[in-house]
Amino acid sequence: MAIHHTELETPPGREPLPESERPKLETLRERLQPLKELPGSSIEALYAAQELFSYVPPEAMTLIAEELKIPESQVFGVVTFYTMFSLEPQAPNVLRVCRDLSCHLAGAPKLIGALEDALGVRHGHTSPDGQFTLKVVSCLGLCDMQPALLVNLDQHGPVMPDDVPDLLDGIRNGAG
């Protein structure tokens, strides 16, 4: 949750939602209806938006604020507080690799390097084929599988650098 200055320099709203994506806002509106009955459900609302768009576009934040009757500033505050929400489009497969103590000792730095090499991007970015977003994150509570990672919410571990090609092929072939 450290403040990332790149995010501050490119505030959301600068990149409007592409025209082709706009019909999904209606779907989002429908999915928000049951949440109106549940006070405090802004996190669930944001998950609904991210599921539809792969990220939380500014238009979705405005819609959530309107539907749930909370200030847009609060919605923006929540999006930027929780690390699982993204303000930028993400690939269908988000890889979250644990960098904390146990996984670090078990070889996480090498695993992260192997993933970066195989995907051709630095962590924090999406691979050129658009299939994978690579993130390095805080402890995932998978220390019995050290070094561990999540593919979306599926647990994998221990994953050694040599396992990376098979892991990525498996995901590409839908075995996730």
């Binding site: 949750m1 450290a2 403040i3 549940l38 006070p39 405090g40 459900s41 802004s42 996190i43 669930e44 944001l46 998950y47 749930l68 909370i70 609060q74 505050g77 929540v78 507080f81 929780y82 690390t83 699982m84 929400f85 979250r96 960098r99 904390d100 103590l101 146990s102 670090h104 000792l105 078990a106 994150v137 805080s138 402890c139 995932l140 509570g141 998978l142 220390c143 019995d144 599988m145 050290q146 999540l150 979306n152 919410l153 599926d154 647990q155």
Partner: protein, 416 residues
């Protein structure tokens, strides 16, 4: 030894209601509702010396009693399953393998604290736990353990809502979790007032860790003395200890509270990999200061850990062998807390990056002996932080300096 909270882990489909019932599940709830008053339940839990397994070790029965005695309604019970302490995965296993035990404990807690609403809050990354707990809650509603008129008692209702987080260590702090439940940023709130009087939505709230709640049904069935006697010495009950780091078997074991670190690491973890020697260990997650092999016989329980200047924490034991650099370990911890500081108060927001910078300086051979004193000073000023994160963030770094000073000095004097 008799197992309490992990006893069903090996059963086939242990996460289903059918399996849980076969193992005697929900009998404790039925006994409570048939035979006991809420006062009797809190008296029983108080007598058992059950304390909060999330790391604070606050007496559980007392907490429930405080909630019950607050006249404001509706009262709430909240399951805190925002387990995010590095090196800790005990709650995840309970949620995946035996969600009903925690749900039964939650219902007993609600009865004892006269609460009628609840939240089951799980961190966002625990996908399998979400599925298992949601399915278990559906089963519990269908079986009449949740909802209106529980087990035929017209006067006892409990409506529970499932919630998930979205990636934030600090939300494990109970008041931050309330803010998260209310759809806000997970900044902590000022205490007092405490959650038992001013919890979620400003109402009296019994918020408990998964492992704490899971212990309640067994205490009802077997009695307070039975539970108390499971611990070693003055420590009561059992604790799930989980191993990770440079250890042969990174496993989770339920053992008497107060077991020695030697037994956990050597017997259950199989020690360090062959050809290496043990350099040190952390008793309870990133927040705990590391200890040395000379302290292997210390009891892993809150009091003896406090006497050694560290904390019992979550039971997440992280093991270090001779290939591990303790300055790097301190640096890792500092990076974690820098990233997870919520940025709300200045001592923590500014202090955590300072810890990182000092560690980096030393690792890069640019540190001085003054930096080691500076760490002490910085730690003292971080005690002015708003919540526990800032109070603990510097402890692992300072602890590493005090126990492994020669490694820091080796960098400073250019011997590395």
């Amino acid at each position: 030894m008799e197992l309490v909270v992990t006893r069903n882990f090996g059963r086939p489909e242990s996460w289903t209601l059918a399996s849980y019932r076969e193992a005697g599940g929900y009998e404790a709830l039925e006994r409570v509702l048939k035979e006991m008053t809420p006062e009797e339940v809190t008296d029983l839990i108080k007598a058992s010396d059950l304390t909060g397994r999330g790391g604070a070790f606050f007496p559980t029965g007392l907490k429930w009693e405080f909630v019950r005695k607050d006249p404001k309604t509706p009262r709430y019970v909240v399951v805190n399953a925002d387990e995010s302490e590095p090196g800790t995965y005990v709650n995840r296993l309970s949620l995946e393998l035996d969600p009903h035990m925690t749900i039964e404990g939650m219902i007993i807690a609600a009865y004892a604290s006269n609460a009628e609403r609840g939240y089951f809050y799980i961190r966002g990354e625990y996908g399998l736990s979400h599925e298992r707990v949601k399915a278990a809650m559906r089963e519990a509603y269908e079986a009449g353990y949740l909802g209106q008129g529980i087990c035929g008692r017209d006067d006892f209702n409990l409506e529970v809502e499932f919630r998930r987080g979205a990636g934030a260590y600090i939300v494990g702090e109970e008041t931050a979790l309330f803010n998260s439940l209310e759809g806000k940023r997970g900044n902590p709130r000022f205490k007092p007032p405490f959650p038992t009087n001013f919890g979620v939505w400003g109402l009296p709230t019994a918020i408990n860790n998964v492992e704490t709640l899971a212990a309640a049904p067994a205490i009802v069935m077997n009695g307070a003395e039975w539970f108390k006697d499971l611990g070693i010495g003055d420590a009561a009950g059992t604790k799930m200890y989980c191993l990770s780091g440079n250890v042969v078997n990174p496993v989770c074991v339920e053992l008497p509270l107060g077991v020695s670190a030697r037994e956990v690491i050597m017997e259950h973890g199989g020690g360090v990999p062959e050809g290496r020697t043990l350099k040190g260990f952390k008793p309870g997650g990133a927040s705990s200061a590391p200890l040395t092999p000379a302290e292997l016989d210390a009891a892993l329980e809150p009091k003896s850990m406090a006497d050694l200047g560290t904390i019992m924490g979550t039971g997440g034991v992280v093991v270090f062998d001779d290939t591990t650099c303790m300055v790097d370990v301190a640096y890792r911890d500092a990076l974690f807390f820098e990233d997870e500081s919520c940025g709300f108060c200045i001592p923590c927001r500014e202090g955590t990056p300072n810890l990182v910078q000092i560690c980096e300086r030393i690792l890069h051979g640019q540190g001085t002996m003054d930096d080691l004193d500076l760490l002490e000073e910085l730690g003292a000023s971080m005690m002015a932080s708003f919540c526990g994160l800032g109070h603990f963030a510097h402890q692992p770094v300072r602890g590493a300096v005090s126990r492994f000073r020669d490694e820091f000095e080796a960098y400073i004097h250019g011997r590395r």
